[in-house]
């Protein structure tokens, strides 16, 4: 994927030409922050304009994706502050827009996952998406978010833990995902049910 010729080529061309390649990743990251499809695309649009106008601040040869993600998250947080809206507008598009595959095989239902993920604090969502999904190293994620590496690690760990709680995932081997309704009945019916260890 990264060969020297590409790097040379990139150095000799306008870095703005490269923006288009990062659009899918920007949209994916934006959605994880806003949890709202149209807000995500508005955020991407604003970020692209900012990146375009500030392209001279981008150091050619460095990680453009990380640079763009930084712009995007800064835009997200500053918009939020301006709007003085602490509660994000979660409209369900985040979950509903994803194609649903029933989890017959013990995998998590995607929708349950999305709902739980949307409940996490912003900083945990972004840490998880950066290191868990987009393939950033902890170091890159830390630079992108302007915090220490340890902070990213602890945010990601707290996010995983919280997701596990929300989804009632057990750390034991061989966990069996029973749907929540069944679990609720089981739990309500016999509080003293003993689990296999």
């Amino acid at each position: 994927m990264t060969n020297p010729e590409t790097a040379q080529h990139a150095a000799s061309t306008d870095p703005r030409e490269e923006l288009v390649e990062h659009l899918p990743a920007l949209r994916a990251f934006a959605l994880s922050l806003t949890r709202n499809g149209s807000a995500a695309d508005d955020l991407v649009q604003d970020s692209i304009v900012k990146a375009w106008k500030n392209i001279e601040k981008f150091e050619v040869g460095t990680n453009m994706r990380a640079w763009l993600f930084t712009i995007l998250r800064n835009t997200f947080y500053s918009d939020r502050r301006k709007a003085k809206r602490e509660v994000a507008d979660v409209d369900g598009i985040f979950a509903a827009g994803l194609s649903e595959k029933p989890a017959h095989d013990g995998r998590l239902a995607m929708n349950d996952f999305m709902v739980a993920f949307a409940e996490l604090p912003d900083e945990q969502r972004e840490a998880l998406i950066l290191v868990g999904a987009s393939g950033f190293s902890y170091e890159e994620a830390a630079v992108t978010c302007g915090v220490a590496v340890g902070t990213i690690k602890s945010r990601a760990n707290r996010g995983r833990k919280r997701l596990g709680e929300l989804l009632q995932l057990s750390d034991d081997e061989n966990l069996e995902m029973t749907d929540r309704a069944t679990m609720a009945v089981v739990n309500a019916g016999s509080m003293s049910v003993s689990f296999n260890k």
């Binding site: 288009v20 899918p24 949209r27 994916a28 994880s32 304009v49 994803l98 993920f117 999904a133 995983r160």
Partner: protein, 51 residues
């Protein structure tokens, strides 16, 4: 890179779902509005540049 592979079943399910969520969006076609935005920016930027 130092991707620390999660060991537990719960964590690996979480990681797998995170990747699926992200991947799904990645694979969507980028809406035209972004391509035309880039085009517009390009035109605004260099109205009299050789192109």
């Amino acid at each position: 890179m130092d991707q620390e592979k999660p060991k537990s079943s719960a964590e690996s399910q979480i990681e797998e779902n995170l990747r699926r969520v992200y991947q799904q969006r990645l694979e969507e076609d980028v809406p035209d509005r972004f391509l035309s935005l880039l085009q517009q920016l390009k035109e605004q930027d260099s109205p009299d540049d050789k192109s």
